[in-house]
Symmetry: C2
Subunit: 372 residues, 2 copies
Amino acid sequence: MADVGIVKSESFVFATKPDRLKLDSGQFFGPITVAYETYGRLSRAKDNVVLLLHALSGDHHAAGRYTPADRKPGWWDSFVGPGKGLDTDKYFVICSNFLGGCMGTTGPSSINPQTNQPYALTFPSITISDMVRVQKALIDHLGISHLRAVIGGSLGGMQALEWTLLYPEIARSAIVIASTSCLSAQAIAFDAVGRNAIMSDPAWNKGNYYGTKGPSRGLAIARMVGHITYLSSASMRRKFGRALRDRTDQAQIFDDEFEVESYLSHQGQSFVERFDANSYLYITKAADYYNISERFGSLSNAFRKTLAKFLVLSFTSDWLFPPFQSQEIVKALMSNDKQVTYCNIQTDYGHDAFLLETETLARLVRGFLDHV
Amino acid sequence: MADVGIVKSESFVFATKPDRLKLDSGQFFGPITVAYETYGRLSRAKDNVVLLLHALSGDHHAAGRYTPADRKPGWWDSFVGPGKGLDTDKYFVICSNFLGGCMGTTGPSSINPQTNQPYALTFPSITISDMVRVQKALIDHLGISHLRAVIGGSLGGMQALEWTLLYPEIARSAIVIASTSCLSAQAIAFDAVGRNAIMSDPAWNKGNYYGTKGPSRGLAIARMVGHITYLSSASMRRKFGRALRDRTDQAQIFDDEFEVESYLSHQGQSFVERFDANSYLYITKAADYYNISERFGSLSNAFRKTLAKFLVLSFTSDWLFPPFQSQEIVKALMSNDKQVTYCNIQTDYGHDAFLLETETLARLVRGFLDHV
């Protein structure tokens, strides 16, 4: 199957004075730079746009390579391209880095033009709705007034849901994968441990670490904790079992000895190289606070004005955002007589399945998009 | 129900030169101080002894108070006492702090008499079997040749299993609660994150932190991670939901805001005050390495020479040592025609249920002990 080929990261700036963006916190914020990529061609009628929303550790580089020599393509290259799940022969796919991120869109590591210093913790509190408001500004900028679909997994699915609530007249359909209308106490607890690990690292320095090594140890721990929650116990057993690592040198007493240990250490380490710790704090906090039913009185109330058709997908072994949370969304939609297709996909990949069950997802998503 | 009243911590020393203890690592180690407590009275025939094995964060102070003013009794006071689950009117209960611990039995924080410094990481690698060998030395010292039962939950259950393997002629019965014959890859991964958090704390200083504040931040993170795994998602939902904390002062942006966050922070903090970080490293490593079927070729092989009657108990919502791991033990025992009673107790308390489902456990344990 062909790929999207060489792509280019683009950006645009908005919310400059005096048109700053009003955030949920009440604060007016700007300027905001938005980093984004697009794949495929926008039709004349501008009616083939799919907005792809990324998850916690993703970014706007969803597919393709920046140069032919790039070792790795975008994070969902297996799913976005000609003939793939999001078929770029048919659809114009937009993916933007979300507000608060660290890959080009304004976030805590960005320079505050008023001080010429990184925002650090002077960056405002943000919500999932604020992220979506920024995406709305982007599609306005691109002259797009309707979205064939919004699609995302995990935190991306929460943004997709939010699109149907904030802009029901724009989002024609929503594909919500391994997501939830609010995090469980357990999921909040894991996020809290991650934040604690970052903030406990003396190198965090109350968020003022730019120009230094930063809280790389704390961030690595946060990522390790997160990574366990993305896999299922069964997939960890299959992948690692209790196998011990091959060693060439003399083992130190508490070195990583099990393969699962060295895998997690590697995940933690490589994350540190590409992610900003303060972004991790802001984004997980936005996720923890997200609570649709609290905002609208009930989940059923929330979806009353939604006009989108829904495809809701969960994974049987996902224990971070378990299937019952998707089913609550489906029930709320059905109680409003909304059009919704739901599938609980049998897999033991856990939460990560949204990046791994590519063929199953592609079949379901293609079929759904053909009919919206 | 009456309590055991005022108790006294006792200790004895063995493995002095030239009789040092041979550890699984091959190293000869000593001297070893063993801290222990006893409850109830030893019968003339010395046939009413129950050896109680504690879990990761427990110690030998299982029941009673040291002084009438003590705010808190021993960790299993609800279960050990006159007329309770372990009925001290009938049984002489012994509980010792295990090897590698930090509550009186020799561990990495103990002074190495050869250097007059704490062992720190010069403490030898230890195993669950080594812990049991030290307990055997204790009962020898007390002149006891048979145990009516060995009983423990979680890591304590692993020691109980090990007793039936190492000393089949001594352990007449074993009560194994919420335990396993080997940790899952996921459980090892959580332990690895905890160890990483400790060792990533600069205050850990390669284990040489005695006399300083020590890696309290890393140890707190390790405890927080652990604590999530001890609870079930359902019990966290019931206990905390998504409730926000009451606040009197102005919130800092990343302060603990959800009740579950402040609960975990508190758990982490109070653990730091009573536990040694190096002990945490050594003990979790011993747990991770424990693997009965690997040692014996199969679980069924392992139990061939066991003479004990078994009571195996698991909890439906325990996802750290899930029921299927208990069931594997039960199947292996049955394949050897051993006497085993198994109950998978319906509860949503998760792994922690072994400390909470006191009445159910008491009924099952009393009934079992009456017939061994």
